[in-house]
Amino acid sequence: MNVSKVIEIQDYSWKYINTRVPAIRGINLSIEEGSFVGVIGPNGAGKTTLAYSIDGLIPGQYNGVKKGTVKVFGKEVEEYAKGELQQLVGVVFSDPEAQFTAMTVEDELVFGMENIGLSLTEIKERLEWVTELTDLSHLLMKPPYEISGGQKQRVALAAVLSMRPKILVLDEPTSMLDPVSRERIFGVLAKLKEEENNTIIAIEHSLENLVPLADQMVLLSEGELILHDETQPFFQQSRLLLEKGVFPPGAMLFFHELREKGLYQGRYPLTVAEGVQLLRGLKG
């Protein structure tokens, strides 16, 4: 089956104005439709810059020097008219508080849909769909700044999803959340992956939740793309990941240590459950 490339980044570099060094440089990355890509890397690696570049926030809202191309659905991001790209690419930011400007959760969810000119009927339909997906029905009339952190991030996610973008970029969406809330967010993403076939790009530090969902992983470090592969082979290179300051999930790390000590030669499990299976197999 011929799967089209929805994002094509070629030789891309971006240097913010008044800085000496580009935030990202020489990036070559293609992402296919329907894939779930995890982007990881230490702080300052350029992950957010990459995320903003896909959505057109760079160079749209920032001054700087751009080299190379960033194409979404075959068209350079700068060629899209104002508001057009944002209908295709949705971004969820790490701080939900900074994304809320409406009086109620409902107004927040509806804002994007009104911006793109949807009719009342369409808005009502999508509102119902997205509130069910993100379990927000009971919060619609509440001010978004009076709900919990996990609920806020679900609102931020729902507000973007209501626009039904084909590509969803999440910039550390769970960085300010507790583990339970984090799981809920990833639960929504899992549902999206299964039911909607969205292309999802998730920048995350919490690999425990990300890894089971991701089809591919990207490692950025000091502005460069170090590694891009399918999830399983990606994490076979745990030594490289550790060198670059990225800590794989616990189960993986355990098996990596076993391999380093010559006690294990096989593939690394992506989850604790897989790890338990592997151990059972070894024991047997």
């Binding site: 008044n18 800085t19 000496r20 809202q61």
Partner: protein, 209 residues
């Protein structure tokens, strides 16, 4: 993000669009206007409630800093915010609706004049020379005089809220309340933050972008 390179701009460069530089009105300007109104609302209400003379006239009106510094940094957007926010802060402080509405031109001129002076004479918002300080002070004085004259003569007398004999007190009250607060806050704020603001996309070189 990568570290900043400290290239020192001259006052002229701050206000001049570089060759090839494209500046346009954007969402950032709407956001800045809203944020300035919000800050001004809080800061202005503080002054109106803490040091009232009456009818929105205050002995020490802290809102002046948002009006004048906001307009210097953000041009027409700062002027709009500066004209509008006192309406809300006065309303909360108990000034009648139509009196607050009628103050808008006074507040607009208090915001506009410093913004115009800085652009016209290419002054440095970072206040690097004596000339920058002097012009800022003079523009604060002149704009507050104009604001006081409008507010007291046109508004307060127009609504018959004052006698002719008490007009000087209110003119001095409005003028003094603005200038004293401006002396306390404007210079410090501009010195502290102008260096950062001029490098942001929100900073307005002409009037709208």
């Amino acid at each position: 993000m990568a570290e900043d390179v400290k290239k020192d701009l001259t006052a002229e460069e701050i206000w001049t669009t570089e060759e090839g530089e494209r500046r346009s009105i954007g969402v950032i300007h709407i956001v800045i206007t809203a944020l300035l109104i919000g800050i001004g609302f809080v800061v202005g209400a503080f002054g109106s409630i803490s040091f009232p003379l009456g009818f929105g006239v205050n002995f020490f009106w802290t809102g002046i800093v948002v009006q004048q510094v906001g307009a210097i940094w953000f041009g027409a957007w700062g002027v709009i915010a500066g004209a509008v926010f006192p309406f809300f802060s006065n309303a909360i402080a108990g000034t009648p609706f139509y009196v607050s509405l009628a103050y808008i031109p006074a507040n607009a001129i208090q915001a506009f004049l410093p913004a115009w002076v800085f652009r016209r004479f290419k002054l440095d918002p970072r206040l690097k020379s004596g000339k920058d300080y002097l012009y800022l002070f003079l523009t604060m004085v002149v704009s507050s005089i104009l604001g006081a004259l409008w507010s007291v003569l046109v508004v307060l007398k127009g609504f018959d809220l004052l006698t002719t004999d008490s007009v000087p007190l209110f003119i001095w009250g409005w003028f003094g309340g603005n200038v004293v607060a401006g002396l306390v806050f404007n210079f410090i704020l501009m010195k502290a933050l102008s260096g950062v603001v001029i490098r942001t996309t929100a900073f307005v070189k002409k009037w709208w972008a």
